[in-house]
């Protein structure tokens, strides 16, 4: 048996699920961010796999590049925000930062 598209897809599915889990459960904001990074990566794997097995059309790869760029930008801003939060609340635990609610 050889490595098919599906193999890669399953990896991405796994990553996505892990990422989702992290996002949903971990209290530490930074962990949540990590989870989001995982999700993005899983998406990227999809793009590349599809582009590879879809006859090597570059569109997927281009998409992946921009995703990476965005991930970087997002990480920067996220970090800034988290730091700011830490300044204000002296914690980065998402669940403790819940003053705005009904």
């Amino acid at each position: 048996m050889t490595i098919t598209l599906t193999h890669f897809l399953f990896i991405s599915a796994a990553l996505f699920s892990f990422g989702l889990y992290a996002v949903l459960t971990r209290r530490n904001a930074i962990m949540v961010l990590m989870g989001i990074e995982l999700i993005l990566n899983s998406a990227n794997i999809n793009f590349l796999a599809f582009s590879r097995f879809g006859g090597m059309n570059l569109e997927g790869q281009m998409a992946a590049i921009f995703v990476i760029i965005l991930a970087a930008a997002e990480a920067a801003i996220a970090l800034a925000i988290v730091l700011n939060i830490y300044k204000r609340f002296n914690t980065v635990n998402v669940d403790e930062i819940s003053y705005l609610k009904d």
Partner: protein, 684 residues
């Protein structure tokens, strides 16, 4: 328009003018207002008399009809008009005189009687509006207009009964009178609706001719009967027939002259007049029912009258009884007799009231002079022996009493035994012999209680020797009307034959109308009936004289010679006495049933409205319960009502949904994912 009709209109509107004058400028000419009203009525009377003679001279019926409202053509129907107008035939002419005459005399009488009343001018104004509307009833030629004036009469009676409205009893009586009459009028109105719907006209002639052509409501004679009876309902109300008679005795709360005018002579007679007008469209069944109503009324009220002590109450019940008599007369088919009794009764009953008024006037002054405020100036038990002190009043009163008891040579005798003859004839044709029996029995009762009253009031010794000193004959303005009426209570004015009126001008002019109902359901043909009356006449005469003589005798035996102790009887028949004294408990009955029910329903519905309807629409009930719990946020914006229910419901929803807004971003995400999965579930 014919000159006579113009005059009729003048007669109609003069009292209105006096009303308008007095209502607006009454304040201006305070004590003159009485005179003004009286003069107007005087002129009115003259015109009326003129009309009467003019009418007697000719047989033509003066009729004038014009279109009041034109509905233009209606969908697939003939052009619909609402015609109204006035008409003067013999009946009208007679009634015109009766009304104006009594009214005039009452005006005069009141000059003295009401002299120092707080609302003197208002009183005369109201007399004016009453006379106007009463005349209206008489002259109109269609049911709609009659209904209009019918109601106006009700209004003026309301105003006059409630003239001393500071007294709760007075305002109660007024209210009662109006509402009870409304009940009757309801039937009247429904009758009119049937007629209007069927014939799209309300003029008598139009309707009767239509019926004559065999056109009956909803093609069923039953409905024709129903229509007749429904219209008769109006009479039941106005003429205080059983079971709606309860208002009339209370109406005595009004000033005595008013009682004389409205509640003895004219307005209450309007019902009889109505029946007379409707006569041509009454089927045999209808007439039968009417006859029984009349008989029952006559009987019940006569029995009540026996035991009453208030002089006006006695007269009131005698009035009811006499009205029952008239209705019975019409019911059995003795048309002219009934109408004639209406006229004669008007005279002597008005007289009786005015006379009693005179007595009360005297008593009142005496009591006032002694400033005795406990003794009831109207209670016969405190009177007696007034004969010497006020002879005029006494003699006139005697004449009236004789007349009402149907003693020969009086007008009452003539009309009464015509009616009795009629009842006999009726029983001969239909076999309903109970009617004449009641008739004669009541005749006896009448004689009895009337003389009881007379004796207790005028004869024997006065109960309070001290008081008798201060009782004087009333002034002329009071006695003159009495004398006039007394004169009119003699037979000559109605027929020169003292024992049989059927040759008199009255019978000659006010003849039976043409019955227009289909033969199948019609009552006995007129000529047969008249024939039979002639046969029965002598019997009736003899019987009635005998019976009333008996009654008079009994009265004397009991109350003058005291051979029989009335008290003993009273004690012996205590239950019966109380039963009669409490007027057969009619008021109690009605209060307990109709009134109570109405008010109860009203309260229940009001509660229902406040709670349940609001509740169903609003869920207010919910709110009050649960609203309290959440009222923290549930401020007054979230009102009860639809608002509350929805808002409450919405609020609950809102709150539950709100719960998920925990402020924890990851919870949000979970919800988002769940939502996503739900959406997917829609498709997978």
């Amino acid at each position: 328009m014919l000159p006579e009709l113009t005059i009729a209109l003048v007669i109609l509107f003069l009292p209105l003018v006096s009303f308008v004058l007095l209502i607006f400028f009454g304040k201006r000419f305070t004590e003159k207002s009485g005179l003004i009203g009286t003069t107007f009525l005087g002129i009115d009377l003259l015109f009326a008399i003129y009309i009467l003679f003019a009418k007697l001279a000719t047989d033509t019926v003066w009729d004038f009809t014009f279109t009041w409202i034109d509905f233009n053509t209606i969908v697939n129907q003939i052009p619909l008009k609402l015609d109204i107008g006035i008409m003067v035939d013999s009946l009208t002419a007679v009634m015109l005189v009766v009304v104006t005459l009594i009214s005039f005399l009452v005006h005069v009488f009141s000059l003295a009687y009401m002299k120092d009343d707080v609302r003197y001018s208002r009183y005369y104004a109201n007399l004016g509006i009453f006379t106007f509307s009463m005349l209206g009833i008489v002259v109109t030629n269609n049911y709609l207009l009659m209904y209009v004036f019918w109601e106006l009469v009700g209004l003026s009676s309301y105003l006059l009964i409630g003239h001393w409205y500071e007294k709760k009893s007075a305002s109660d009586a007024a209210k009662k009178a109006f509402i009870v009459n409304r009940v009757g009028d309801l039937g009247f109105f429904i009758g009119i609706m049937i007629v209007w719907m069927q014939y799209s006209t309300t003029t008598y002639t139009g309707i009767f001719s239509a019926i004559g052509n065999g056109n009956v409501p909803f093609d069923s004679n039953t409905w024709l009967t129903a229509a007749g009876l429904l219209i008769f309902c109006g009479a039941i109300g106005k003429s205080a027939q059983f079971p709606l008679h309860v208002w009339l005795p209370d109406a005595m709360e009004g000033p005595t002259p008013v009682s004389a005018l409205i509640h003895a002579a004219t307005m209450v007679a309007a019902g009889v007049y109505l029946v007379a007008r409707t006569f041509p469209m009454l089927t045999a069944d209808a007439l039968m029912v009417i006859a029984y109503f009349g008989a029952v009324t006559a009987f019940i009220s006569a029995t009540i009258a026996i035991v009453q002590n208030d002089i006006k109450k006695i007269l009131a019940y005698s009035t009811v009884s006499q009205l029952g008599y008239m209705v019975m007369g019409l019911g059995v088919g003795a048309y002219t007799a009934g109408v004639m009794h209406l006229v004669t009764h008007a005279a002597f009953k008005a007289g009786l009231f005015l006379a009693s008024g005179s007595v009360i006037y005297a008593m009142h002054h005496a009591l006032h002079h002694l400033n005795d405020h406990h003794t009831d100036a109207q209670d016969v038990r405190f009177m007696g022996g007034l004969r010497t002190k006020m002879p005029l009043t006494f003699w006139t009163m005697t004449i009236f009493t004789l007349a009402i008891s149907g003693v020969p040579l009086t007008s009452g005798f003539l009309s009464k035994d015509e009616i009795l003859a009629g009842t006999l004839a009726f029983s001969h044709f239909t076999g309903h012999s109970i009617i004449p029996i009641i008739g004669f029995f009541v005749a006896g009762l009448t004689a009895f209680y009337m003389f009881r009253m007379l004796i207790l009031t005028f004869m024997g010794e006065h109960k309070d020797a001290h008081r008798i000193e201060h009782i004087h004959e009333s002034p002329r303005v009071i006695t003159v009307p009495l004398m006039v009426l007394a004169a009119l209570s003699f037979f000559v004015f109605f027929s020169f034959n003292p024992i049989n009126a059927s040759q008199g001008w009255f019978f000659h002019n006010v003849e039976y109308p043409v019955i227009s109902v289909p033969k199948t359901v019609a009552s006995t043909p007129t000529e047969e009936f008249v024939e039979e009356i002639h046969h029965q006449h002598t019997t009736a005469m003899v019987l009635s004289v005998a019976i009333s003589g008996l009654g008079i005798l009994l009265a004397f035996v009991t109350y003058y010679w005291k051979k029989i102790s009335a008290d003993a009887f009273e004690r012996a028949l205590k239950p019966l006495h109380t039963f009669l004294y409490r007027k057969w408990y009619f008021d109690e009955l009605y209060d307990a049933t109709a009134v109570a029910a109405t008010l109860a329903v009203a309260r229940i519905l009001a509660w229902f409205d406040g709670t349940v309807v609001d509740g169903i629409v609003n869920g207010a009930a919910w709110l009050t319960k649960i609203g309290a719990v959440v009222s923290g946020k549930f401020d007054s914006l979230v009102v009860d009502g639809l608002v509350n229910f929805t808002a409450f419901f919405a609020g609950m929803m809102g709150q539950t949904v709100q719960k998920v807004q925990t402020g924890k971003v990851q919870t949000y995400m979970i919800f988002a994912i769940v939502g996503l999965m739900v959406l997917l579930a829609l498709y997978i």
